[in-house]
């Protein structure tokens, strides 16, 4: 039950952290990562019900293709946007952005593997798919929150 709301929870956390970092008026890698997380979460929230409610009832095969490949391309677009934003603002790429980019790449591969798994009818990856994605969402939340706290603690220490 709680797993279903993890996505919304991540969206709220990303929005809050983005606003907190904006309020602190500092453009660093963490702000850019928060912006990308937020963008991906918003697009996913819009696209998911459209595919499930409107496309899948018409054709389950097309719905399946759109769902898995759509999310996979959203993830890769996230990695592209992350790199593009860092390059545009000449901000050094931090551990957080590297970690999140690798998460997105892993999820993109997992979506395609899961599609092949479902088409073949074996369902080998069902457990991995249904548990690894919530685990990665939790990892992202912890990472963003922890890094924001560290940044603010460091700033306070420097101010003293």
């Amino acid at each position: 039950m709680a797993l279903e709301h993890l996505d919304q929870f991540l969206t709220v956390i990303a929005l809050l952290l983005f606003l907190v970092n904006l309020a602190a008026k500092r453009l660093n890698s963490l702000v850019l990562v928060c912006a990308v997380v937020l963008g991906i979460q918003i697009v996913s929230t819009i696209v998911r019900p459209i595919i499930i409610n409107y496309v899948s009832p018409l054709s389950i095969e097309v719905g399946r293709i759109l769902y898995y490949f759509g999310f996979s391309f959203i993830c890769l677009s996230g990695v592209y946007l992350l790199g593009q934003l860092h390059a545009a603002y000449a901000v050094p790429i931090s551990f957080v952005s590297n970690f999140y980019a690798r998460i997105l790449q892993f999820v993109a591969v997992l979506q395609v593997v899961r599609y092949l798994d479902r088409v073949s009818g074996n369902e080998y990856f069902q457990a991995i798919y249904s548990h690894s994605i919530p685990a990665l969402v939790v990892a992202t939340m912890i990472l963003l929150t922890h890094t924001t706290i560290l940044v603010f603690m460091n700033r306070r220490r420097k101010a003293h």
Binding site: L22, K25, Y80, G83, Y89, A90, I93
Partner: protein, 105 residues
């Protein structure tokens, strides 16, 4: 049959995009590192030159040639630093409108 062809096409497109995006991200990482190191090197040069000029000013016998040369170097450094800043600002302007953040940074 058609769906299988579409799926194979999408898988090929996915693999192509995956490696393109991966290469792009790695390139961005390297460029960001170089820009960061360049700004670090410039700050270090500023500091060294600043110390040198203040020593020259403080010394009882002002070595005018050395002083002029150092001031020229300082001007060059300022120009180089401004070019770097302008480049970053232009890149930011071409970006996504978050420039106002940099002004107070």
């Amino acid at each position: 049959m058609l769906l299988h062809i579409v799926a194979i096409g999408l898988i090929s497109l996915f693999l192509y995009t995956f490696f393109c995006v991966d290469n792009f991200y790695k390139k961005c990482t390297v460029i960001a590192e170089i820009e960061y190191k360049r700004s670090q090197v410039l700050s270090h040069k500023f500091l060294k030159l600043g110390v040198h000029i203040s020593r020259l000013r403080a010394s009882s016998e002002l070595q005018i040639d050395d002083y002029n040369r150092s001031m020229q170097q300082l001007d060059d450094l300022v120009e180089e630093y401004e070019n770097l800043t302008v480049k970053s600002e232009n890149a930011g302007r071409a970006g996504f409108g978050l420039d106002f953040l940099r002004k107070t940074d």
